[in-house]
């Protein structure tokens, strides 16, 4: 199981790379909370990574679905 705290170093890394923007605000149960949103660079990166993932997933999918005679 992955501990919840492991999320934070990743978030900070993304902020430092300029992919995320963080600001303090108030959550619905009235506590201070940090809100993260994607920056323009972040959105672009997300698009690229999604395409990459989709290509990989499609490749994996077709590989797994392949019949023995097609190989």
């Amino acid at each position: 199981m992955i501990e919840q705290g492991a999320l934070y170093p990743a978030l900070f890394r993304l902020v430092r790379q300029g992919l995320l923007k963080a600001s303090w605000g108030i959550s619905e149960n009235n506590r201070r909370a940090k809100f993260y949103e994607l920056t323009a660079a972040g959105r672009k990166r997300l698009r690229e990574e999604t395409e990459g993932w989709n290509r990989l997933a499609a490749a994996m999918g077709s590989a797994l679905a392949a019949q023995p005679e097609e190989v």
């Binding site: 919840q4 705290g5 934070y8 170093p9 900070f12 902020v15 430092r16 506590r31 909370a33 940090k34």
Partner: protein
């Protein structure tokens, strides 16, 4: 805000802490709403969150601010480690302080003399004129006027002379230095007055037409107490009244870097100050410095062509006076080719040597760091085993090195700044208003900082490979003594290189010192020890014509009355006094066409009284001394030196009784020949010289040459009193002849002192280097030595085992250094008179010095090895 991100450890730390806490609180809120009580909800939330401290640290590392933070952490850790080994730290810091300090001082000098522009707007286009193949910087005033008015490439040409005068302050007379510039001097240099105004070309209306002087800031500050009402006041210089027109700004002195005159007086007033009237003397080329700004867009080649065409015209128009009227241009700051090349070569050489010192220091410290890294292999292995990254450990080691270099560099720089400041106020030659303005500026600080950081990284990088190769598993298991091999290590190579560098420095300094000693006891053709020179210029108090010789004779007689004065003579300019070349062309008696090209010799000319040779202890080889009977009515006579006799008459015996001619056709009979000597510089080739009787060739400027047999301090006061008895208003400056020779000896002295200091530093580095290596290898092998001793090894065997390697490396390094040093000293020979590397004494000295340095450095480690007690050693561990 941005800085907060970089440096604010607490702020970003707090921020992360708050965010993590807020996550846990939110999760606890969720859990609470699902029915758990608050305490249990928070406990569960924390468990789900995981290792709070670890994530916080990871977050910090993920943020950019951590760079500075880890650096601060490293620095704190390094300080702790260094405090634990104070001996190592102190040696390292001192080594670097000395090396960086030496580099900062030498660079400060180099910067001031070669890199820094003159304090003058448009300094880049300012050039000095040099004439003929000898690149003579001095010209005649008539040539100046023609060159100024006929050239088309210079915006303006300025010229100036330097002279000394008596300033009558009412109570007493003081000797001051004047610069005598052309009227356009201040306008062309573009310097604004600090007070009042300057004089201008429009003020000049022929000789003695401008009754103004300009005061230098420092003289105004020192002698007029910053009195702003001084402008308009009348002062008396050589009994002529002048009005103070203005004061120059504090930074301004003179286009020649070293001269700091007290007053500026227009050159057209020259004859009121100097005995020799030269404004119309076209052939008198040994006078004035000339320089000017090129017009914008004009290249130096165009300017030279332009000047040469004017020169060719002058040579055609005045064939009797003008020779070699072809010109070159040079930077005025070091008097062009006169001082520039040797000074530049020497300072560059010094900079190289200082760089070598720094390299040697880095090698030294690199060796120490490598040894420490080997000692700390266990600590490093442990940290690696516990999960530290290689990068972090290397960064830690480099931080330690840079920290040491920063502390050492700061100490060295502050020392060198103090030294440079002191150098700037120092007046190396008491007689002349010369300073070496080497105050440090931003460039010096920047270079020192860069050198500090680079050397820190350099010696910090030495142990990197060693650390990278280490296998933590082996080290933790076997301890750090396991890998004492016999192979050649980086440390050995560094030590040999370092000792070689040190041997080079020791060799250079020994060659220089020996050269200086020889030049001080070389054949001057006179004996400066035990002589006082009393300089008096009779034109300062208004003597002229026949009264000059009579007064000079009275002065001699008066000084002779002082008890224990052996003999007194008079000479217009004492040899090696540093006034520059004063000579004349002479012709054989048969020569009819007295053109410069037909001259038989160009001897240095001295005007002397009888008994001068006796007082100076110059040996008379043949014939007689000049006498008081050789006056204006008697036939013209001269005493010449052996070289003159050889060159013009063939031999000493054939010279006595022979005749030669001067430019104006005067026939002079040789009545005596004296031994050869040095006249203008101690490095000159043997020059010809002639000594003419003062009564036939009057000169208002003359130095009393007083050979004494007692304490010179007290004698100086009595000489002053004796001269005052003859004329109360005549200022005399009294110095020993050896002091007076400071100017001519200054280059070789400066060279010797700086090389001596570098040599001592090299020796110190060699000692610490060998000491460090020997001490380290003994500490490593103390256990082995103890065992050997326990099974009966002799003392010499122990010593051989312990120190054999260090001694071998020392011998290797010294040998290499000696050879390199001897090669390098060929360069030295150009500056330090009689510096020859082929000198058995120097060779023996270097070998002896390196051997005793080795002995000194290995003494303490050797004692430690011999004192090893096998019982105690074997009980350890």
């Amino acid at each position: 805000m941005r800085f907060g991100k970089w440096f604010g450890r607490s702020e970003s730390g707090d921020d992360i802490e708050q965010e993590l806490q807020s996550h846990i609180q939110h999760r606890a809120d969720d859990l609470e709403s699902s029915g758990l009580d608050r305490a249990e909800a928070e406990r569960r939330a924390r468990i789900e969150f995981g290792g709070h401290g670890r994530f916080k640290e990871e977050c910090q590392e993920a943020m950019s601010g951590t760079f500075v933070e880890t650096m601060a952490q490293d620095a704190r850790f390094s300080l702790r480690v260094l405090r634990k080994s104070p001996g190592f730290t102190i040696v390292a810091v001192l080594t670097l302080a000395l090396a960086i300090g030496a580099n900062a001082v030498v660079f400060g000098v180099l910067n001031a003399l070669m890199l820094r522009p003159l304090h003058s707007p448009r300094a880049a286009s300012l050039y000095q004129l040099e004439r003929g193949p000898m690149k003579s910087p001095r010209q005649s005033y008539a040539d100046y006027l023609d060159l100024r008015d006929r050239n088309h490439t210079f915006a303006d040409l300025i010229t100036y002379d330097i002279a000394e005068a008596a300033l009558d302050t009412g109570a007493s007379t003081a000797r001051v230095w004047l610069e005598l510039p052309s009227g356009n001097y201040f306008d062309d240099l573009g310097v604004q007055p600090y007070l009042g105004r300057y004089f201008h070309p429009a003020d000049e209306h022929g000789p003695n037409s401008v009754p103004y002087v300009v005061l230098s800031y420092s003289y105004w500050h020192a002698h007029f107490q910053n009195d702003r009402t001084v402008v308009g006041r009348v002062i008396n210089l050589n009994k002529h009244p002048f009005t103070i027109a203005g004061v120059t700004p504090p930074e301004f002195h003179d286009p020649f870097l070293f001269a700091f005159p007290d007053f500026w007086m227009p050159i057209v007033d020259q004859e009121q100050i100097e005995a020799e009237k030269y404004l119309d003397a076209r052939g008198n080329h040994q006078l004035l410095l000339m320089m000017g700004h090129l017009k914008t867009g004009v290249t130096t080649a165009q300017a030279i062509a332009d000047l040469n065409s004017v020169g060719a015209y002058l040579q055609k128009a005045y064939p009797k006076d003008e020779v070699q009227m072809n010109f070159t241009l040079a930077r005025p700051s070091l008097m062009g080719a006169f001082l520039g090349p040797p000074i530049r070569a020497f300072v560059t050489g010094l900079m190289l040597l200082a760089g070598l010192i720094l390299l040697a220091a880095c090698a030294n410290l690199g060796g120490l760091f490598a040894a420490r890294a080997a000692d700390r292999a266990r600590e490093v292995a442990l940290r690696l085993a516990l999960g530290a990254s290689w990068g972090r450990i290397l960064r830690q080691l480099l931080t330690e090195a840079v920290l040491i270099s920063l502390v050492g560099g700061t100490a060295g720089l502050s020392g060198s700044v103090a030294l440079l400041r002191a150098l700037s106020t120092w007046q190396p030659i008491p007689k002349f208003p010369l300073h070496v303005p080497v105050n440090p500026d931003a460039t010096v600080y920047a270079v020192a900082l860069i050198l500090t950081l680079v050397s820190g990284l350099l010696f910090g990088a030495v142990p990197v490979r060693q650390v990278m190769r280490a296998d933590p598993y082996q080290i933790v298991k076997a301890g750090s003594t396991a890998t004492m091999g016999r192979r050649v290590t980086v440390r050995d190579v560094l030590l040999v290189a370092q000792i070689a560098v040190c041997a080079v420095l020791v060799t250079c300094s020994m060659v220089a010192v020996r050269g200086l000693l020889r030049s001080l006891h070389g054949g001057f053709g006179f004996e400066p020890q035990g002589v006082l020179l009393g300089d008096a210029d009779l034109s300062m108090v208004g003597y002229s014509g026949d009264s000059v010789a009579a007064m000079q004779r009275r002065m001699i007689d008066s000084v002779k009355q002082i008890p224990e004065v052996e003999s007194v003579g008079l000479v217009d300019w004492a040899p090696l006094g540093g006034e520059g070349w004063r000579g004349a062309l002479v012709f054989t008696d048969r020569t009819m066409d007295l053109r410069p090209a037909n001259a038989a010799a160009g001897p240095t000319m001295f005007k002397i009284s009888p008994e001068y040779f006796h007082a100076a202890r110059t040996r008379l080889l043949a014939g007689r001394d000049v006498s008081w009977h050789d006056d204006a009515q008697a036939p013209r006579v001269a005493v010449i030196n052996r070289e003159f006799a050889r060159k013009v008459f063939g031999s000493v015996t054939s010279a006595v009784g022979g005749y030669f001619k001067m430019r104006d056709g005067t026939r002079i009979q040789v009545v005596g020949v004296v031994e050869d000597g040095k006249y203008n510089s101690i490095t000159e080739d043997q020059d010809t010289a002639m000594f003419l009787p003062l009564r036939q060739w009057p000169s208002t400027q003359a130095s009393l040459v007083i050979r004494y047999l007692r304490d010179p301090q007290q004698l100086a006061a009595e000489v002053r009193a004796a001269v005052r008895k003859v004329d109360a208003g005549l200022p005399v400056s009294i110095l020993t002849w050896t002091r007076q020779m400071d100017l001519t000896l200054f280059p070789s002295r400066a060279a010797t002192v700086s090389l001596g200091i570098l040599g001592v530093m090299g020796a110190m580095l060699a000692v610490t280097g060998i000491f460090g290596m020997a001490a380290y290898s003994i500490s490593k092998r103390l256990k082995e030595l103890g065992i050997r001793m326990a099974i009966g090894a002799q003392r010499w065997q122990i010593l051989q085992t312990a120190l054999g390697r260090a001694i071998k490396l020392l011998a290797l390094g010294s040998g290499a250094g000696l050879v390199l040093g001897l090669l390098a000293t060929r360069v030295l020979a150009a500056i330090v008179y009689q510096a020859t590397p082929r000198d058995p004494l120097v060779l023996a000295g270097v070998v002896l010095a390196m051997a005793s340095l080795g002995l000194l450095a290995t003494w303490i480690p050797a004692q430690r090895a011999l004192g090893a007690d096998p019982k105690i050693l074997l009980r350890e561990e």
